[in-house]
């Protein structure tokens, strides 16, 4: 779960991460004609990767590149279930405390050395090392004991059952021991020329310009059809779009405006294919529940009735998204579609406000209570126009029910350090990007309300606390589902946030690539199976 401030800048693409469903244009799957090796794909990225060792970087640009190079023991399949990647299989003990991984045999690092369980242990020991600067340590601190049973068997024992544990054995902790054993992980050159086990291997990094990857001939799932991947760094979204128009790029992420209005020409229909599926993130209006007005549930519900989420999706995202009703994305297994919904109904909003004691006594259009006018400020971060537009529409809708809203946008660090951390706000518009595991302990648990912690709205609900605990302590998906379903019901009733919308990912890919099979997880998951028919080859890797 990551704050998705980055996501907007990183107008990208390999949102392989993330979700579902309907694919707009011709999702042609007829892979009938000739598979052919060769050609490269040029991907546009607005940010440069910083560090290609997955455990050390926390920016999505780095993970997008290292995702081509590294594998984990497990990975999320296209339909979002966990499957083996470097692991052939695994067993979880009855009590949920021990996970034993059986690794695939014969896999080699890209330099030819054999991959074994020692590499996994090495990765684990590296990440928990005091000196390693990794933001992902916490999941591995839960491990009581990690052992190599034999070359291809790796066993971890936990203190308590921990459901997100299985997914944590992804690509973060698989590192080539033979290369890194004697290196200082924080300073090693390896971070800029990595060796992995994945479908593509690192070739060259031209700082500030591009990263070049080439096909790994010995990839254990078979050599990719494409000869290479080039990630070009183009910081300005408009320039990136112009590059697309000159066909200098094969794959970029579009903005809603570009998707809807600027790519309708014959040129685009002929040369590109567009895709559309929900991103793994949502935008919300969060209240400071310590504030005397917003501590009253009726007021929060009144505001929910005063807002028209459909209008926000249409106005802000030009329809390229869906309304949000809770902290999960529609069509994923933890998502509960049957929670309380607040239809747009200004009359009802006014009634609720009146019940809470707010009335327009001096007839100036703004409600009062005990001589105070209902006026508050929505804070958001500067530079995010989507959020500012959202705030503006909310301002207009709330004015209709007699609430005056001011909007203030702040530079990111000042916003977080002076306002969020110190709880000096009335309401905020922000977004979360969510991981594939439904555990959201840190956001909703009542112990997580201290400075720098994520329950900054100060939400407190004992039942939610218990359910969060329950949900992360069992591997039984049905039991987890029950817990998360109930959490969503409570959140919809209590409304610490008003969940606004889930924006769509809008990638566009050159039409010469075949084999793209859109799935809940996105389009990038099977890039090693993409190919270009021989007569359409455009680039050739030169030695």
């Amino acid at each position: 779960m990551y704050f998705y401030r980055h996501l907007c800048n990183i107008c990208f693409i390999f949102s392989a991460s993330f979700f579902f469903v309907h694919i707009a244009t011709l999702a042609q799957n007829n892979q009938s004609n000739s598979f052919s090796y060769g050609d490269e794909i040029i991907i546009g990225s607005s940010a440069e990767a910083s560090n290609l060792i997955p455990m050390l970087s926390s920016d999505s640009a780095s993970h997008e590149v290292s995702g081509f190079i590294f594998n984990g023991l497990v990975k999320y399949d296209k339909d979002l279930t966990l499957i083996g990647d470097l692991a052939q299989s695994w067993e979880i003990s009855e009590d949920g405390l021990v996970i034993t991984f059986h690794l695939k045999k014969g896999i080699k690092w890209q330099d030819g050395t054999a991959f074994t369980a020692d590499d996994v242990l090495f990765g684990y020991e590296t990440i928990i090392n005091e000196k390693t600067l990794s933001a992902y340590k916490e999941d591995y601190f839960q491990v009581k004991k990690a052992e190599v049973l034999d070359k291809y068997t790796f066993k971890v024992t936990y203190e308590k059952p921990f459901a997100p544990a299985l997914a944590s054995w992804g690509s973060l902790v698989v590192l080539p021991k033979h290369i890194l054993e004697k290196e200082d992980i924080n300073k090693t050159e390896f971070s800029r020329k990595p060796v992995g086990t994945g479908p593509f291997k690192f070739k060259e990094w031209v700082p500030g310009q591009k990263v070049i990857l080439e096909a790994n001939d010995n990839y254990f799932e078979g050599r990719p059809y494409l000869d290479g991947v080039v990630i070009r760094i183009i910081p300005d979204p408009t320039t990136m779009f112009l590059e697309l128009k000159t066909q200098g790029l094969d794959w970029i992420g579009l903005s809603p405006l570009q998707y809807k209005k600027q790519t309708q020409s014959e040129f685009f229909k002929k040369n590109y294919r567009k895709f559309k599926y929900p991103s793994f993130s949502y935008t919300y209006l969060g209240f400071n529940l310590k504030h005397p007005w917003f501590s009253d549930k009726k007021i929060r519900q009144a505001i929910a009735h005063a807002l028209d989420k459909e209008e926000l999706v249409k106005g802000v995202l030009l329809g390229m998204g869906s309304i949000s009703t809770g902290p999960y994305v529609p069509n994923t297994w933890p998502y509960n579609p049957n929670v309380r919904k607040y239809e747009y109904n200004p009359q009802k909003a006014k009634e609720l406000l009146r019940e809470a004691g707010w009335q327009d006594i001096d007839k100036d259009g703004i409600l009062e209570k005990n001589g105070k006018k209902f006026e508050f400020t929505i804070l958001t971060n500067m530079g995010n126009t989507t959020r500012i537009k959202t705030a503006t529409i909310i301002q207009y809708r709330l004015r209709e029910v007699g609430i005056k809203v001011d909007i203030r946008s702040l530079e990111w660090s000042a916003f977080i350090n002076w306002f969020i951390d110190k709880k000096r706000f009335e309401a905020v518009i922000l977004g979360w990007s969510i991981g594939l595991d439904p555990d959201q302990y840190d956001i909703w648990h009542s112990t997580k309300i201290k400075e720098k912690e994520l329950n900054f709205v100060s939400f407190k609900n004992q039942e939610v606390d218990e359910l969060l605990e329950k949900g992360r302590r069992t591997f039984d998906i049905e039991k987890r589902k029950q817990a998360y379903y109930r959490i969503q019901e409570i959140l919809a009733e209590e409304l610490p946030y008003i969940f606004l919308y889930v924006p769509d990912n809008l990638p566009i890919v050159s039409a010469r690539f075949e084999g793209i099979a859109p799935a809940p997880i996105g389009i990038g998951y099977n890039i090693e199976k993409w190919y270009v028919p021989k007569n359409l080859h455009k680039y050739r890797i030169q030695e």
């Binding site: 704050f3 926390s58 933001a135 916490e138 183009i234 320039t239 030169q542």
Partner: protein
């Protein structure tokens, strides 16, 4: 002269340390820490992990101690490592971006002088003529036009519609396979637009300066004398007037030396040029103290050095200053 120089140098040294001190403390006054980019609102970031980060980076120490540590490392020419997740030495990050920034800026500067000085002289010699008015309007249009707008329009026309220039970047994807002559040609094609836009937007300053100092020089009595003794007009203008009128331009030149390395965020972003401007902007947003300080050091050294150069240039061009 030697005495003058050594006195000046001592002044510069003190100023330099003042700059680093003030900068370091100012950066630390801004809200947020260098580690925030990783830790802010990141659910995986427990207080313990945050403490590990702060300890590793020495951020648990008070700011004045950190300044002395920085100063100590700096005395060994070590600017420290970047706080971004690449942890690379700050100087390496700047170094790899310097050449392209310096290249673009020096070529631009060359053209700015090459074009602006004659425009200024011409306008001064024939004030209020049609050509004076046209060039004046021209340079002001260049100045007033937003860089990003002009850049995008030219990218669209020359890059997309006519398809004669690349839209962005500094090299083609197949650059490595080109012959050396084509490599130069390729670079020129890529650099044309950024340089054109920089030059067009910056003509106004120098040309207007040149025009006013030249006009002032031409109204002096020694010009009347020169004309009276029958010197050809070209000699009057280029030898007698120009030599006096060029002095302030030397100052400006000296002061624009630091501009050579401080790239522009706007055009670097639009043209996807991996220059120093972008790096500095990102560093400032991420509170990456070591990178900011390294940049501060370089810019202030160049500024001070530029000042010194201007002083020396003055002394060379103007005998009165030399005597003092």
């Amino acid at each position: 002269m030697l005495n003058y120089l050594s006195k000046k140098s001592l002044e510069l040294l003190i100023t330099f340390f003042g700059i680093t001190l003030v900068s370091f403390f100012l950066i630390n006054l801004a809200p947020g820490k260098p580690t925030d980019a990783v830790s802010d609102l990141n659910p995986r970031m427990t207080p313990e992990i945050r403490a590990i980060y702060e300890k590793q980076w020495g951020l648990d120490k008070p700011v004045h101690i950190r300044y002395f540590i920085w100063l100590k490392n700096f005395s060994k020419f070590d600017f420290g490592r970047s706080f971004s997740s690449d942890s690379r030495p700050a100087w390496d990050k700047i170094k790899e971006r310097l050449p392209i920034t310096i290249l673009i800026n020096s070529i631009s500067m060359f053209f700015i002088f090459l074009i602006a000085v004659p425009i200024g002289i011409h306008s001064a010699v024939k004030p209020n003529s049609l050509s004076d008015k046209l060039t004046t309007v021209g340079v002001f249009v260049g100045f007033a036009m937003p860089v990003f707008w002009l850049a995008l329009i030219l990218q669209l026309i020359l890059g997309v519609w006519l398809n004669i220039l690349p839209v962005s970047g500094i090299r083609s994807l197949n650059y490595e396979n080109l012959s050396w002559i084509n490599k130069i040609f390729d670079s020129m094609r890529h650099l044309f637009l950024p340089i054109f836009i920089t030059v067009f937007g910056s003509l106004v300053g120098i040309s207007r300066y040149m025009r006013s100092t030249m006009q002032e020089a031409l109204s002096q009595e020694y010009i009347v004398t020169a004309r009276a003794k029958g010197l050809p007009e070209s000699k009057v203008v280029y030898k007698h007037a120009l030599r006096n009128a060029i002095l302030p331009i030397i100052t400006i030149t000296g002061l624009s030396v630091p501009g050579l390395i401080s790239g522009s965020v706007i055009f670097e972003t639009i043209f996807a040029i991996p220059g120093v401007g972008q790096l500095l902007y990102q560093a400032a947003m991420a509170r990456d103290i070591h990178v900011i300080m390294a940049e501060v050091v370089i810019v202030s050294i160049l500024t001070l050095f530029g000042n010194l150069l201007a002083d020396i240039g003055y002394a060379l061009a103007d005998p009165r200053i030399r005597v003092k």
